[in-house]
């Protein structure tokens, strides 16, 4: 027997209370894991963004596109391997009014060399490249809306008014988990050629994505691109994919901060529950501590015994919470969110960091929740605690 086994057995002494406390901590851990996963799912895009890609758009507003000729200039900039342009189409399937998905007109011949993570069966790829009205859609989107290769789909445009017809020619997936697999790509040429002669929207591109040779040169190349258009009517803003994603995060930073704050509140609540239990059980055992002190145990032995008890409960709760988190957060909510909010959360999974943090925090919180009761128990007056009944 060791002193620690005394602590462990004392945990189990009031079973109902131990069970409730462990459950309470487990619930708090589930909430914590959920919130941290929302946070990490939001930032995962930025963190996993390709290091060798830059994006170029209108410096002042993303609403106004760039002249198409800019693409040629960008391809000339030293260090650029390849560049591909695209325009935001913003279409909706009238049969699925409330389903939001990203629809974009893309330069087909460069798409796969710039976005090398896209995976499309070679036959589909050939067909799509050769069909001017062909569309390439993400597997998550295709599954959700029930589209198959060969289907004809009509999208209603808003920026480009009218009804637009497409044939689904290919379905893509991705080698990288963080890519939105609910996008709708089609030929930019089809869009442009359909616009009336003289339309201000003709020969305009929304943005340019560039692959560069050396990721370390990203800053210099971005500046070189922007300098090339400095004297033009429309100036550009070039950023690495990561910086672009981060600036999007900046727009929701208040939400992220609030979630962050709430996840801290959870930890505090957890500490209250745990501290409460430990305080109660040590109070009930005052006399036992008195006996131990009489026998010759020192205050730090008593404190240690209480702390071990708190850490054991914290660890049990943390472990249970983590075990519950996986089915709840990943199976239940994760699948729903990936399918329905894929453009915001393409990858809604518990990260290893979150899991480890939850467990470590549960243990640390156990420790800190036990500090005050441990201090009190250690400072008990031996004679008084022996005299006190119960």
């Amino acid at each position: 027997m060791r002193l620690s086994s005394l602590s462990v057995r004392n945990v189990w002494r009031n079973r109902l209370r131990a069970l409730l406390t462990v459950l309470g901590i487990a619930v708090a851990i589930v909430a914590f894991v959920l919130l941290r996963t929302v946070l990490s799912a939001w930032t995962v895009g930025a963190e996993a963004s390709a290091k060798d890609r830059l994006g170029t758009r209108n410096k002042v507003t993303f609403v106004v596109p760039l002249p198409k000729r800019y693409i040629e200039t960008i391809r000339q900039v030293p260090g650029v391997v390849d560049a591909s342009y695209a325009s935001w189409f913003g279409g909706k399937d009238p049969r699925h009014e409330n389903e939001f998905f990203a629809s974009m007109a893309v330069e087909t011949k460069t798409l796969f060399s710039v976005f090398d993570e896209l995976v499309v069966p070679p036959a589909d790829r050939e067909r799509w490249l050769n069909n001017r009205k062909g569309a390439l859609v993400g597997d998550v989107l295709a599954k959700k809306l029930g589209w198959k290769v060969g289907d004809t789909v009509t999208l209603q445009g808003s920026i480009y008014p009218g009804d637009w017809q497409f044939q689904i020619e290919g379905i893509y997936s991705s080698t990288r988990k963080v890519v939105d697999r609910s996008s709708f790509f089609f030929h930019w040429d089809y869009l442009n050629d359909s616009l009336p002669e003289g339309s201000p929207q003709r020969d305009r591109i929304g943005w340019v994505t560039t692959r560069i040779r050396d990721p370390l040169q990203a800053g210099a190349i971005s500046q070189a691109i922007d300098r090339a258009f400095d004297e033009q009517e429309i100036q550009t803003l070039t950023m690495s994919e990561r910086a672009m994603n981060l600036s999007f995060l900046g727009m929701v930073s208040a939400v992220l901060k609030a979630i962050d704050l709430v996840s801290l509140v959870i930890l505090f609540i957890m500490m209250l529950i745990l501290g409460n239990t430990i305080a109660m059980s040590t109070r009930e055992r005052t006399r036992e501590f008195g006996v131990m002190r009489a026998i010759g145990f020192l205050p730090h032995h008593i404190a240690l015994a209480v702390l071990i008890e708190a850490i054991v409960i914290g660890g049990l709760g943390g472990g249970l919470g983590l075990v519950l988190s996986y089915p709840l957060v990943e199976r239940g909510m994760g699948r729903f969110i990936e399918e329905n909010m894929g453009s915001f959360f393409p990858y809604f999974r518990i990260s290893e960091g979150t899991a480890v943090a939850a467990l470590v925090l549960a243990l640390l919180l156990g420790l800190s929740a036990g500090l005050l009761p441990a201090y009190r128990a250690a400072r008990l007056n031996v004679i008084d605690s022996l005299r006190r009944a119960g």
Binding site: M1, R2, L3, L6, V291, A294, I295, G296, I383, L386
Partner: protein, 251 residues
């Protein structure tokens, strides 16, 4: 993390021994407990309460003494002082060669672990530990190996006649059995002095007699000096000497 107390820095026991030696002073060879002019004063608010007043007491090695007196007479305070749970307000207090009044809390704790065995009215066993584990508890403060601790705990239980209840929890034992486990716990580290606070107070007559017989054996066979506070005249009769306290003074 090694939570066992025996992991305390090596040499601490030697340290304790030398601490005790420092505070030692010559006593009459046959006295193990020696009180001279001991006074104990508590304060209730600003008002002093004199629990013990100028108390002198000598207990010889191997003595078995009963302390009797009405409640509030100071007998429990006296017992606490002898057991090193409390320090006198004035006077000198020597137990087993140590000057208790001059020792720090942690020195006292180490001293208690080596010198004193406690027996309480309410037994005070740990409910989550089995009988043998309860007896083993004080040995966690020593550097003995786990197997040696276990062997000694079993021996102590055999002495009190409970080897067949070794793995029972306190709630599975009768009051008399619980108190016997408590006595085994008190003797397991071979202390020189046993202090018993109303050891038969919660027991029926027959169990009480068994406990008293056991204490007698501890005194006679193991040569433990025993100080016992009791209300029970039958218990007091078994002691060599019965001392009576009233209003903080021996009469």
């Amino acid at each position: 993390m090694n939570s066992s107390p025996q992991a305390s820095p090596s040499g601490s026991d030697r340290g304790a021994a030398s601490d005790i030696a420092e505070h030692a002073r010559p006593t009459t060879a046959e006295s193990i407990i020696s009180l001279r002019g001991v006074r104990k004063t508590y304060f209730r608010g600003k008002e002093p309460i004199h629990v013990l007043q100028d108390l002198d007491l000598e207990v010889p090695v191997g003595g078995y003494e009963a302390l009797m007196g009405p409640s509030g007479s100071g007998k429990s305070t006296l017992l606490n002082l002898i057991a090193g749970l409390d320090r006198p307000s004035a006077g000198s207090l020597l137990v087993a060669g140590a000057d208790l009044g001059a020792m720090s809390d942690s020195q006292l704790a180490r001293w208690r672990a080596n010198t004193i065995g406690f027996i309480f009215q309410a037994y005070n066993l740990m409910p989550v530990l089995t009988a043998v584990e309860n007896v083993e508890l004080p040995l966690l403060l020593t550097k003995l190996s786990a197997s040696e601790r276990k062997r000694r705990a079993q021996t102590a239980l055999r002495i009190v006649g409970l080897e067949d209840r070794m793995h029972h929890y306190p709630r599975q034992l009768s009051g008399g059995q619980e108190q016997r486990v408590a006595i085994a716990r008190a003797i397991v580290n071979d202390p020189q002095v046993l202090v018993a606070d109303e050891p038969t107070g919660d027991l029926d007559r027959q169990s009480a007699d068994e406990i008293l017989t056991l204490l007698e054996r501890m005194n006679r066979e193991l040569h433990k000096t025993i100080i016992m506070v009791t209300h029970d005249p039958a218990a007091a009769e078994r002691a060599h000497i019965t001392r009576r306290l009233n209003k903080g003074q021996l009469i």
